[in-house]
Amino acid sequence: MDFLVQAAVWFIGLFQRGAEVFVGLVTGIIPLVIVLLTAFNALIALIGQERIDKIGEAAGKEGFKYMPLRYLVLPVVAVFVLTNPMAYTMGRFLPEKYKPAFYDAAVSFVHPPLGIFPHVNPGELFVWAGIAQGVTTGYGAAETAALAVRYLIVGLIVIFIRGIVTERITAFLWARRAQ
């Protein structure tokens, strides 16, 4: 009989632990995310799609100096305003040879802003929140805030590098294909 009781306690304990985690997540993350999402959804509705299209048209031009526009400004604005997955539609303004690199830069930016701008990809929040929640518990909220800012900054550097590298590899594969 004792054994059964112990087994039952252990069994329900599995879920009680999960319930505690759930309450922590809901009270710790959801209220802030709801308010942020509301603010950014409204902002995006007010900015409108047409203004974003203009950046896309400029980013397609040839030349080295348009790289920051193509693999930094355009992906950032696209992800910020159109969010995942509609951000990739901005590739339509670019020449074919730049499209894979733009996609690579844009898709790599759907997680780094999550600590500050969760509206860009709320469905995949836990790429960030999983680690962030642990850092908050272990090292405090200030540490998590510093982490959020750095995640965003490093994300910017990484997408730019990714855009350039992928553009080169695309050019290489295209040349080989033509032979």
Binding site: L14, G18, I34, A45, P100, D104, L125, V127, G130, I131
Partner: protein, 177 residues
């Protein structure tokens, strides 16, 4: 008199538009939370609960710990996850990245991992981002079929190079955390 009426009408219309936009934004926010965020939280809470209560977490942590504990280990992790064969399989819904991230999170919570590892870890768990979605993403950008044929391997190979680079840059930027 007519001027005042017009003025009031304009204010009323403007306020109505702003309130309407905000209300719609709030509705979308709640929708996103209910449809995307809460289900994932339920799923994650269940997994973490079981992992914590059964001790499986300790076993998994022992496997991940050596990799997660040093920048070189994290570079190796990003190389494995970024392999062109694996990355498209690990990509969908970012589920793998979210689970590994949450597992590592439990290690930061107990201070088993130092805080400066968090930034490179965020990139090490995610070199496969979007690798499952390349043809669709390119199609959304109205790419030609030929572009897709070249673009898929281009992005996959690029990740093998830029995945570890991202971890190293993140490691440099984690100074002071």
């Amino acid at each position: 008199m007519q001027g005042i009426t017009k003025f009031l009408e304009r204010i009323g219309r403007g306020a109505g538009k702003v309130v309407g936009t905000l209300y719609q934004a709030g509705r979308e926010a709640i929708d996103q939370v209910v449809k995307n965020i809460l289900p994932f939280m339920a799923f994650i809470a269940f997994i973490i609960g079981v992992i914590l209560a059964t001790g499986v977490g300790d076993a998994l942590a022992r496997v991940l710990q050596p990799l997660a504990n040093s920048p070189i280990g994290l570079v190796i992790m990003s190389l494995i996850i970024g392999l062109p064969v694996l990355s498209p399989l690990l990509g969908p819904g970012a589920v793998i990245a979210q689970i590994i991230g949450t597992l590592l999170g439990t290690q930061f919570a107990t201070q088993a991992l130092p805080a400066y590892i968090a930034l490179p870890a965020l990139f090490a768990i995610n070199p496969q981002v979007g690798c499952d979605f390349i043809p669709v993403g390119l199609a959304l950008g109205e790419a030609e079929p030929e572009t897709v044929e070249v673009g898929v391997p281009a992005v996959l190979f690029s990740r093998l190079i830029t995945g570890p680079i991202a971890v190293i840059i993140a490691w440099v930027f984690s100074v002071g955390l």
